[in-house]
């Protein structure tokens, strides 16, 4: 019979090997599916690379997708490190974008650097406060943060929809439900054709890496994540650490929202994210909550997203194919987690009774 047993702590090299092979097998499995659908998988992979990297424009677009994924993944990583399952990045992004828009619409004539800094600040604060709600509920009433953060996503999106269809509807839009464009000062400037979010994202990677790996707070977050009893025993304030970490987590997601609104959309709308906050949960998890790995994984995911869009127009392949590819990779990598932590052993039959019990 088959039996599943927990593995002893494996070597780091072995884990990495398993993850890489998981990705490899995911690509093989995707190739089989594509072949079954009637597409040449090698051509599809080549087109994905071509469509995401092989011109300055396409590379810039790939980076435009990478930026929010990196910042969101970093935000999620801070919470996940504490085993605070923040599935609410999407909602925090929208609240951050809302905060940024509030500033952009209220003070359109402020000098641009000041205005942008203010938008970032308010965006981060709004995102952080939105994440604080589930944290406080958890501390007070031991509610499941997974559920609360998830549900707050939909509230945030509906809130932006409400603004878009109601009080913030562009009066010059002849009735079409959209919000007015930001003034030019509220739009993030570009460096090398990419909005400066990429510089901010890189700085944040370093900051969060130091925070999680080198700082006292990072240590406390990790300890709390392992066991809150241990944390308490060590004299740490669970409430204080939770609140701080969650504010940072939500704040980063809010900042990502500000950058999407300002750098990409130049306005606010209820389709601003299109699920980035959920994709970032995946990229964060695949990166094993490591800030430098987040950059790599987010970039590779962006290659898939941008390359997938290219597939659609260049080969007339439905963009859903790229989605299937992402799904398969995730499935295999999450599957490999299981095999990293557990091993399946074949056992000889011991007695008939035991078999029946099982």
């Amino acid at each position: 019979m088959l039996k599943i047993v927990k593995r002893p702590e494996g070597s780091h090299r072995r884990e990495t090997l398993m993850r890489v092979s998981a990705v490899f097998f995911a690509l093989v499995a995707s190739a089989v599916i594509m072949a079954l659908l009637g597409y040449n998988p090698f051509l599809v992979y080549a087109k994905i690379v071509e469509g995401s990297l092989m011109s300055a424009y396409r590379f810039r677009e790939t980076i435009h997708k990478t930026i929010p994924l990196v910042v969101l993944s970093l935000g999620i990583a801070v919470a996940f490190k504490m085993k605070f399952w923040n599935i609410g990045a999407e909602g925090q992004l929208y609240m951050g974008a809302f905060g940024a828009a509030l500033v952009a619409y209220s003070l359109p004539t402020l000098p641009s650097p000041l205005l942008l800094a203010f938008m970032m600040l308010v965006g981060a604060v709004f995102g952080g406060l939105w994440a604080l709600i589930p944290a406080l509920l958890k501390l007070k009433f031991s509610t499941s943060e997974t559920l609360v953060t998830l549900m707050l996503n939909y509230i945030a999106i509906k809130w932006v929809s409400y603004l878009q269809y109601g009080p913030w509807k562009d009066p010059n839009g002849i009735g079409f439900p959209k919000m007015a464009a930001f003034s030019s000062g509220a739009v993030l400037p570009k460096v090398f054709g990419i909005h400066i979010g990429w510089i901010i994202a890189l700085v944040l990677v370093v900051v969060i890496h130091i925070l999680l790996k080198k700082s006292k707070l990072g240590y406390e977050i990790a300890v709390l994540g392992e066991s809150d009893t241990t944390a308490r025993y060590a004299g740490m304030s669970v409430a204080k650490i939770t609140v701080t970490a969650v504010l940072i987590s939500g704040g980063l997601c809010g900042l990502a929202g500000m950058m999407q609104a300002s750098g990409i959309e130049r306005t606010l709308n209820d389709q601003l994210s299109g699920g980035l906050g959920f994709t970032a949960v995946i990229t964060c998890w695949l990166a094993r909550l490591s800030a430098p790995a987040v950059v790599l994984v987010s970039f590779l995911f962006s290659v898939l997203i941008q390359g997938g869009a290219y597939l659609q127009s260049s080969m007339k392949i439905p963009s859903a194919v790229a989605g299937v590819l992402q799904g398969i990779i995730l499935f295999f990598v999450l599957g490999s987690e299981f095999f990293i932590q557990y091993s399946v052993v074949f056992q000889k039959k011991k007695s008939a009774g035991e078999v029946h019990d099982a």
Binding site: Y165, I174, Q271, L272, A309, Y310, S313, S314
Partner: protein, 378 residues
């Protein structure tokens, strides 16, 4: 890039011609060259084989509605031997800007953005790419390299109103509508006037969905109206959900965009149809000929840009004659649906007797005629 390439090719051809002429003179030249007389037109236009036309679609090319209707235009261009590309399911936000830039990156030198909400993004991309030709469907913002185009679908809607007005038993007609913008309001009004031309007391009740294309939402809205007792349905939506809902409730339905008698065979009466290929072929031909200029294209029944679908056996007796009579009058200009007296929902005169609204007034219409039940949000 492409233009520069063409320019250098032309320059090379010109040099060849000049050297040929300046050479041995009387002797027939063995070098095959382009006829010099054709040169000016060639320089102004883009040869067919160098064109690459990109379409940005709000829905999917097999949506049995709006996007499918536009895609007939793409197919017509491809039948002419013109390269085309398209992107489906483009949301009406900055993603549309990216989709257009993606297509231009892949060599498109003509871009058609087929949904209203793409407007400001199209303006932006057109500004960044002055050497690319743009067309934006249903909008009002134009620039040197950006035209707008639409069909006078309200004329076909008026005819569809006649069909619905003759079919309804209880005088309650439902209308599932996307957004409260002039394009949609104009259609509802024309349809209602068509209904009233044969059935003066009938009403048209409107439900807004706030989406162009979302079959689930559209169907829900249709069921809401059907449950209120509407026995004929109409739609300003991109899918056939309204027609299917009508069939399920034993009611009848007028479609939109493309002919869909098979989606709900027991309910389908007819549909106001677009023939976008009329515009696309005309517009691209102008680019080839070098006669393209930015314009506001808005043609109707007489130009073949819109039509009413064939009537099915579900229609009431005598409908065909009534429709044919009205259609002939509209095409001849004798009948203009938006001619006074027209009243608003409260019964106030909005257009005096004998006055016909101008194209501009029709284009910007933002009030409901009498007989429409529903409100236009602030």
């Amino acid at each position: 890039m492409k233009k520069r390439w063409i320019a250098s090719l032309l320059a090379a051809a010109m040099v060849l011609v000049l050297t040929a002429c300046g050479g041995t003179g009387t002797q027939a030249t063995p070098t095959p060259t382009a006829a010099p007389t054709e040169e000016p037109t060639q320089a102004a236009g883009i040869p067919k084989e160098d064109l690459k036309v990109g379409f940005i679609y709000i829905g999917e090319i097999n949506d049995q509605g709006y996007t499918q209707a536009h895609d007939q235009g793409r197919l017509a261009l491809e039948a002419m031997g013109i390269q085309c590309m398209y992107v489906e399911d483009v949301p009406e936000n900055a993603d549309s800007e990216k989709a257009m830039n993606d297509l231009i990156d892949q060599g498109c030198n003509v871009i058609y953005a087929t949904s209203f909400g793409f407007m400001e993004y199209t303006v932006e991309v057109a500004k960044e790419h002055p050497d690319v030709y743009f067309g934006h469907c249903s909008g009002y913002m134009r620039s040197d390299n950006l035209s707008t185009y639409f069909g006078k679908i309200y004329q076909a809607r008026y005819l569809a109103g006649i069909v619905a007005g003759m079919k309804t038993q209880n005088g309650k007609i439902g209308y599932v509508a996307a957004y409260a913008i002039p394009e949609v309001i104009r259609g509802i009004n024309a349809f209602t006037l068509g209904v009233q031309s044969v059935n003066p007391d009938a009403t048209v009740e409107v439900v807004w969905t706030n989406t162009w294309y979302d079959p689930a939402v559209e169907k829900q809205a249709a069921i809401e109206l059907l449950n209120k007792g509407c026995d004929v349905m109409a739609q300003h939506q991109d899918s056939t959900a309204t027609q299917i809902a009508a069939q399920e409730k034993g009611a009848f339905a007028v479609g939109y965009n493309t002919s869909t008698p098979d989606a709900a065979p027991n309910a389908y009466l007819t549909a106001p149809l677009f023939h976008w290929e009329k515009f696309y072929v005309d517009d691209v031909q102008k680019i080839i000929d070098g006669t393209w200029t930015s314009r506001a294209y808005w043609e109707g029944l007489s130009a073949g840009m819109v039509s009413l679908d064939d009537l099915t056996a579900n229609c009431a007796e005598g409908t065909a004659d009534a429709v044919a009579a009205a259609q002939a009058k509209i095409e001849s200009g004798e009948l203009e649906p938006f001619t006074g007296p027209l009243y608003d929902q409260d019964g106030n005169v909005k257009v005096a007797e004998g006055t016909t609204m101008t194209d501009d007034e029709i284009w910007n219409m933002s009030w409901f005629v009498k007989g429409v039940i529903g409100t236009i949000p602030e």
